[in-house]
Symmetry: C2
Subunit: 339 residues, 2 copies
């Protein structure tokens, strides 16, 4: 047997012991993405095959794009689980901190049994913490642990875990993509994962409205900081005009980032209620966009961060640009210092 996660083997064995014959809640984060839902599906089916009674829990609904992963699975939302007084053993997945699934879910599950995650900022808030920031996706960790322990991964679990890896590696493209990532993907294919279906459902079910949204975004692109930052803005009213919603903005920011010479791409959404949302994406982790987003009460990864401003949105474009300029200057200074 391959040992994909030897350092986590003892703790994972302890988790399986703790969950034996328990009712388990597999809790994902708010606004769930492919790695979140895929990890929930994978973990839920692996635990079910191992004899647990499992419910998946999210603050938000499973996005339309990810529905193909969950047929036959039990996904419930916050209100429902608050009414349910069952003594669940809670397993949090893909949630960098205890509150990422939402404050009400944090209160409902004050002492998670486990926390399985790959975010570098995860400090371990559960009894058993299976955290590896060297992994491309939470789904990668779950796949490796399950294989290391000889657990059954059925075709639906394999498809979910595969979709999680595809999502969080940007289709095997990000720096986190390793030899292990590919070896695990091969094992998932052997167990029933279907790349064409994942590709079709994740990337080829776009609406015409989404294409129009993209068109608006492309038309709005502005080069800043001497071409190192590219910012596009979705002005108020565009969602209504194109028949789209906030969910449809996913991936737009990558167009700004993908331009030659651009180090940081930005998407700004002006919402009808006066709030502002921004997504930041860097080509290189040195830009620590989590810190830039943090200045506006946002957060995320070094290469991919975001923020939501409900108040105090005046001059947001200029203030964000100033923060980015400052951050680029810091990076340039450090580069100079080390060269």
């Amino acid at each position: 047997m391959n040992a994909f996660y030897p350092a986590l083997a003892g703790e994972f064995t302890r988790l399986l012991d703790r969950l034996r014959h328990r009712k388990v809640a597999v809790v994902g984060h708010a606004r769930p993405d492919g790695d979140c839902i895929g990890s929930q599906v994978g973990m839920a089916r692996i635990l079910t095959a191992a004899g647990c009674d499992v419910t998946c829990v999210n603050a938000d609904v499973v996005p339309r794009r990810l529905q193909f992963l969950v047929p036959g699975m039990t996904f419930v939302r916050t209100d429902e689980i608050l009414r349910d007084t069952t003594d669940y053993a809670a397993v949090f997945v893909d949630s960098a901190d205890h509150a990422r699934p939402g404050d009400r879910l944090k209160a409902r599950f004050p002492a998670p049994v486990a926390n399985i995650d790959h975010h570098i900022s995860n400090i371990g808030y559960a009894e058993i913490n299976l955290v590896d920031s060297g992994s491309s996706a939470t789904a990668e960790i779950i796949t490796g642990l399950a294989l290391d322990h000889g657990l059954t991964i059925d075709a639906q679990a394999a498809q979910g875990l595969y979709a999680g890896i595809v999502t969080d590696t940007g289709q095997f493209r990000f720096a986190s993509t390793s030899r292990r990532t590919f070896l695990l993907a091969a094992e998932l294919l052997a167990r029933g994962a279907r790349p064409p279906e994942v590709g079709l459902e994740l990337y080829e079910r776009e609406s015409l409205g989404k294409m129009q949204l993209l068109q608006h975004y492309l038309a709005s692109l502005k080069m800043e900081c001497g071409g190192r930052v590219c910012i596009g803005t979705l002005a108020k009213g565009i969602f209504e005009k194109t028949g789209t919603s906030g969910e449809d903005t996913e991936g737009l920011v990558d167009y700004a980032r993908s331009i030659n010479g651009v180090d940081i791409g930005v998407l700004i959404e002006e919402r009808a209620d006066g709030s502002v949302k921004a997504s930041l994406r860097a080509k290189d982790a040195v830009y620590r966009l989590d810190l830039v987003a943090g200045e506006f009460n946002g957060g995320g990864h070094a290469c991919a961060a975001g923020l939501n401003l409900k108040h105090d949105t005046a001059n947001f474009y200029q203030r964000l640009l100033t923060a980015l300029e400052r951050q680029i200057a810091v990076v340039d200074r450090e580069k100079k210092g080390t060269s």
Copy 2:
């Protein structure tokens, strides 16, 4: 040792014997793509490490996007190799037929020693034919053969072969992506392939002009055949307006295909000289777009085909649409017959 291509082992051994101490020309096809250049780089370096003196040959220049794969390599073009009277042993890669590299290169190398390819239409025009249409890429075949035979794949070869696989699987998305594809990708990473660089160079070095071209294409999209066909047209003069060229149209047609409900996406380019070029992409191989393109003297794969019309371009949009409607009717009839 894994046996990735047991059925080709004998013929590959025979090829290595035939090439020993020879001057070898590794010939790719015209308008080379990532799998062509990547396979040439991989094959050339593997053969060089095995003691051959290798030159890569193409009718066209190595595209800008693929230049990162070839530093230090010898790539020559048709005129140069026609002046060179060396008695090369020719190895054709990724070329479905003898003339795909161009008629002049076919004449220069009338009897190729080998033909390594994954196109289903390849009928074997060389002395030794290493053809496997079950492989996602020619680079996959070369990687598997080299590993099976314990040949050295250095970091540059690994990067080229990895880029070939990424290109021809659409980033591990097409139906041809198999467990073997992932296992070989893992081996290439172990030998120095770098996914972030490949992703960056292939997909994140877009020009602003290319983004504007995309914007024009999106604005031109028309739904046809009840939403099952989506056609976008780049009108005459757009290349000049956006500072782009024909090379920049790569990938545009995928936006049409990616729309929900669309089975076939089409890109039509109206060139300044009055000629017309069309790219056809289907979500499913049943649509046999190679046959549709064939009606206009084009060709390709079942899911990805293309054509070039220099004359007789009047009413092209309508004539192509009629051909597509007819093909969809054939497919629907066959589906009905088997259900």
